[in-house]
Amino acid sequence: MPKTLFDKIWDAHAVNVIEGGPTQLYIDRHYCHEVTSPQAFDGLRRRGLRVFRPGRTVCSPDHNIPTKNQDKPIADSVSRNQVETLNRNAAEFGLDIFGIGHERNGIIHVIGPENGLTLPGYTIVCGDSHTSTHGAFGAVAFGIGTSEVEMVLASQCILQPKPKSMRITVDGHLRPGVTAKDVALYIISRMTTSGATGYFVEYAGEVVHDMSMEERMTLCNLSIEMGARGGMVAPDETTFAYLNGRDFAPKDDKWDEAVAYWRTLPTDDDAVFDAEVRFDAADIEPRVTFGTNPGMGIGISEVVPRNPGENDAERAGYTRALRYMGFEEGEKITGTRVDYVFVGSCTNGRFEDFRLFAEMVKGRKKAPGVIVWLVPGSRRVLGQIRSAGLDRIFAEAGFELREPGCSACLAMNDDKVAPGRLCVSTSNRNFEGRQGPGSRTILAGVPVAAAAALTGYITDPRTL
């Protein structure tokens, strides 16, 4: 029977299927950070349990950590406590942890792939909804709640009903200046924030095939924002080239065996998906959000749409969003004054993102009056930035490079956007108050962020 990539991996990991209930799914890799794990470890202690398979969990504090002075103790006591709790739990239960300052430390969804810990055909979970990022490698990767973190630690399995499958195909070739982030934002604006709820998505088509691994990670990262359980791309030569030689990837004979297996994973020709959606690259230009969820977005050349609400509740929600953001229907988005720019996060915090930013700002200067945070997704990415001399380009242009962490994506550490202020952010969520109480967020790709950093306004990067 022809199977999809998702089916093949899911079925290969089903330990038991409960009658009328969920599947007991074996988890190959569990990533663990400091925010969603404390109560899970407490639960283990309460039950008198050890971690069943310690070697399959990897820990890295990322949400709470400051992005400056990482060699000093964390100033905020609550943050410090949460990070120290993870350190203590990892030590007590015998888990690998890449703590602050460790050469492998960084945002959990950045360090996994770059260290070869995320592999095709794997089932991967983490107490974080952007776990879908790892799907870029042809893994079934998804976010879970703290109770499920406890389940994985206790039994290396979770209970999960099998989601439906959806294939999203993007045909054609990207126009100049359009990035994977724009493709993702375009898809979400067409699908809405609940359009893929209940589905596990596979991304396909020329545009996806042509993407680098980092671009595929950006694309898969945002799957949750349209409600999908996860998003994945079939492993191919691009995937194998990226993984070959990575520290924790299989080596020698094991590598050859693994690649032979991975080649059997892509969706069979006549496999059937529960839903199929197609988009054309010709319709995609650089995108920005204007509202308070990732689906409320437009092309940068467009104007804020008229209220599309079909009933009182929808209309009220839209009106509220526009009021919060300070936009009017019909208003052009370009020309909006920007207070902050954030380049980083598990969405766009990798080397290629900073390389693109450097290309755009080289020989130019940061606009006065804009606060810009350049936050590499990991210590390794920071090293790559320095080796490539990008740090000199940033310094000459007046930009400050920070240390790795989740930073301004969500106001859990020092990097917060002040109330009422507007931030163009390469992260993944623009909910009310996401980057700080009363803060306003515009999601965008690296070129739009660079253009805003250089001009102080939302600017079409293609005009620079």
Binding site: H13, Q24, Q82, G145, S155, C157, T197, A313, L410, F431
Partner: protein, 186 residues
């Protein structure tokens, strides 16, 4: 408790700054924190949770409840505040699962039934709603209208018996070890 807002994301249910706790207790205090209290900590009277006319352990919410971040803390906050049922016409997946794992029952009803619930409760704040888990029905006692709701049979069994996924998984360790012996590893 009627909350006629759609697309309530988990950042609103429990803002990120409250995720720093290392235990499960006390999250109810921060449920819908930035809608209940202003920056100085004063109650925002217009918000329904602060309106003394409305109470009860059933939260009625607009569609797409619980979107965004996977934070299970949102379900803990809802439970800790005192809600045992959330009624909506649509729930985001991860949050729905989190509720089920934390003894809060998510009940999915039709848009029409939901609208009628809001109309009933706003017209008469003391209105009663009956949720019967064994029968899988929800009844608007003022209008007499009833709807059947779906729930995964395994989750229903767990909720009704106060059971826990972890005890179940621990009981299947032999199967897991069997699986590990047979599965491909690399």
């Amino acid at each position: 408790m009627p909350l006629p807002v759609e697309n309530v994301d988990t950042d609103q249910i429990i803002p990120a700054r409250f995720l720093k706790a290392t235990s499960r207790e006390g999250f109810g205090d921060n449920l819908f924190r930035d809608w209940r209290f202003d920056k100085e900590g004063n109650k925002i009277d217009s918000f329904v949770l602060n309106d003394p006319r409305y109470s009860g352990s059933i939260l009625i919410a607009g569609k797409n409840f619980g979107s965004g971040s996977s934070r299970e803390h949102a379900a803990w906050a809802i439970h800790d505040y005192g809600f045992r049922v959330v009624v909506s016409s649509f729930f985001a997946d991860i949050h729905k699962n989190n509720e089920l794992n934390n003894f809060v029952l998510p009940v999915v009803v039709s848009d029409e039934f939901l609208k009628e619930l809001f109309d009933t409760v706003f017209a008469s704040p003391g209105s009663q709603i009956c949720v019967n888990l064994p029968d899988q029905t929800i009844t608007n006692l003022s209008t007499g209208h009833m709807e059947h709701f779906d729930i995964n049979p395994y989750k229903k069994h767990c909720l009704l018996n106060g059971l826990d996924d972890i005890s179940y998984l621990l009981s299947r360790k032999d199967d897991t070890e069997d699986y590990e012996r047979k599965a491909k590893h690399y």
